[in-house]
Symmetry: C2
Subunit: 345 residues, 2 copies
DNA sequence: ATTATTTACGCAAACGTTTGCTTATTTGTT
DNA sequence: AACAAATAAGCAAACGTTTGCGTAAATAAT
């Protein structure tokens, strides 16, 4: 940091003006003469002056830093969200600082503490899988630091949210499986304490009922961590049933791919014997064969939306920050894993 | 930010002590009595005091912020690097702020300007594809802000680097292809103005020559952006040659997968007619069929190493920051795309 | 020519910490 | 009992900005 940076004081001395005049000139404040302003700018360039944001932040009592808490940054969904956040933040003059909770509650709590001392202007967060109690986020309410959750959100905390309609999307996928003729649809589910995963299960159930199919708990297999391996494990379990399913809706693409890989080792054909659908439209879903039908969760769009909401709240702090929830529209992407020859159903 | 945070001054007033005593107590400074220190801590907890990092940074004239510039955060390689960076930064008490150059030179320049005003303690960067002139990084040298490049580095700038030995890795992959019996090996290359990609080409050439194979420029096809599509385009081109190759070494996994998809649509068999190898060990490389032989570029390890180097430089600023280059060991991961029945070669 | 208004700038106090130096008090040494 | 040394705490300046208020000179209005 040292290396004798040039400050506003230096400019003031050199020009025989007061620091306030320099400061105002550099902000193009109208109360400073055109000519002076121009000269200040010129000297600033010449001397290589650049503002010290830290000092400015202290004096203004606000930073332009947005804190982002993600479970893990190396998961495609979250890195896409961050990409969206960064993009709009950059355009709006905000900086983005990133923390990984690694799905640990303890770490998430620690991070909220850090963000507090860092005086971030606002926070975007996706809850850790372990998190049930969200009281560590409550402090931001009293500090009037805007907070936007995305994807995995808390219902017992007043905060803005950007989510997808997991219920509706799951229901839509299930309906699609039904439409192509599946009668016995299984679900590889995510951790049911997490709202998005329970919503996906409910959406699945709802679609079944709506179509007069009975919900069979044996057809629901709960994956622990939504990995390939868990998908494979669940698929094996489902294939051991006396009556195997003819369609599987998986809570995410990884488990779907794990399932596909297991099924391909049997002599069952996808999609004809078993159709498979995933959730999230990860890049791999176009690579696996057959290509995977899935829900595009619009991760980048979610990030952009969260950032826009947050910045708006940051900037009109006066108005009552009525918490706001935005639901991002998802798309059902149909690929070969559910593309059957037309069936008369 | 407002909402009347409690400051050190408030504690001082309440305890009838001076602010300096409070400050020292909170840092467990030995010159403050055990008893006083304990009381200060107690009151601090009770009143919900937390330090204002911004003020501290200003006074100490240093931040604990590490700025990271990546081309794009949603590329698996970079998000893994960031994950590694974040992990060690977190442990060492540093924060990480992220910027995407989106491979744009202009944007990269702008970001270096922002980082300068943000007074970051150090910088980790991967050059944008467009970047040739690196003089915008030179300012950090004079400001004595440590700088570590990773992966895509600049040779005409004094800075530390963490890289993989692309030449050696490429050569090793090519040797592997030769070992399994390939005689006519093609290369789908990356942009040759980028050092890592030209090193991969050179490593490929070197292995050919070492084994007495002639280098045929017709077997090298340059991809523009290392996407699936470009891989597919190059593969098609190679398949139109009068003598088609019996092995392809691709500059990354995406192009390799594009190539595999094209080849699978012909009646050529992988790996028997054409063996394919990629580079980077992206997650998809285990999903594609056949699974892709590739180089594990140890992205997370790179991030961790870069962060460790940087923090060491930040913390012993006194010693002459002799620039340092670390080469991360890579692994050749052999999978089905090059796994032939034993051949007597 | 006198007053009112605008224009252009300076003063000085903040923002919340940290830290070199000084001072008062206690403890230890002869 | 007198003095040195250790202990515990305070003073005040700094870090580099921003900003409310004040003021002098220049311009406009009467």
């Amino acid at each position: 940091m040292p290396g004798t940076r040039v400050t506003i004081k230096d400019l003031a001395k050199r020009m025989d003006l007061s620091v306030s005049t320099i400061s105002r000139a550099l902000h193009n404040h109208p109360s400073i003469g055109k000519k002076t302003t121009a000269e200040v700018w010129k000297l600033a360039k010449q001397l290589g002056y650049f503002p010290n944001t830290v000092a400015s932040n202290l004096r203004r009592r606000k930073t332009n830093m947005i804190g982002v808490i993600v479970p893990r940054i190396d998961i495609a969904f979250h890195s896409h969200v961050i990409s969206g956040v960064e993009e709009v933040a950059y355009k709006m003059g905000y900086n983005v600082t990133i923390y990984q909770s690694r799905d640990s509650f303890e770490r998430e709590v620690a991070i909220t503490g850090i963000l507090q001392t860092q005086m971030v202007a606002g926070i975007i967060a996706c809850l850790a899988l372990e998190t049930i109690d969200c009281s560590h986020f409550a402090r931001f309410n009293s500090l009037k630091v805007p907070l936007v959750f995305y994807d995995r959100v808390s219902n017992d905390l007043e905060a803005s949210k950007v989510i997808i309609d997991d219920f509706e999307a799951a229901s839509r996928v299930t309906q699609h499986l039904i439409n192509i003729g599946c009668m016995r649809i299984a679900h590889i589910a995510g951790c049911q304490t997490t709202s998005i995963f329970s919503a996906r299960l409910e959406g699945y159930k709802a679609a079944l009922l709506k179509n007069g199919l009975t919900f069979d708990p044996n057809l629901v297999c709960c994956a622990n961590d939504l990995s390939y391996e868990e998908g494979a494990r669940c698929a094996k379990k489902l294939l051991k049933l006396s009556e195997i399913p003819d369609g599987i809706f998986c809570a995410n693409d990884y488990t779907a791919i794990g399932a596909i890989q297991v099924i391909k080792k049997t002599n069952l054909k996808i999609p004809d014997d078993i159709a498979i659908a995933g959730f999230s439209n990860y890049p791999v879903s176009t690579i696996i064969e057959p290509a995977l039908t899935t829900i595009d969760d619009r991760a980048v769009e979610m990030g952009k939306t969260a950032a826009r909401m947050l910045i708006r709240q940051i900037e009109d702090r006066d108005t009552n920050i009525a918490s706001e929830t935005i639901v991002i529209k998802t798309d059902l992407i149909i690929r070969d894993s559910t593309r059957r020859e037309p069936v008369n159903a």
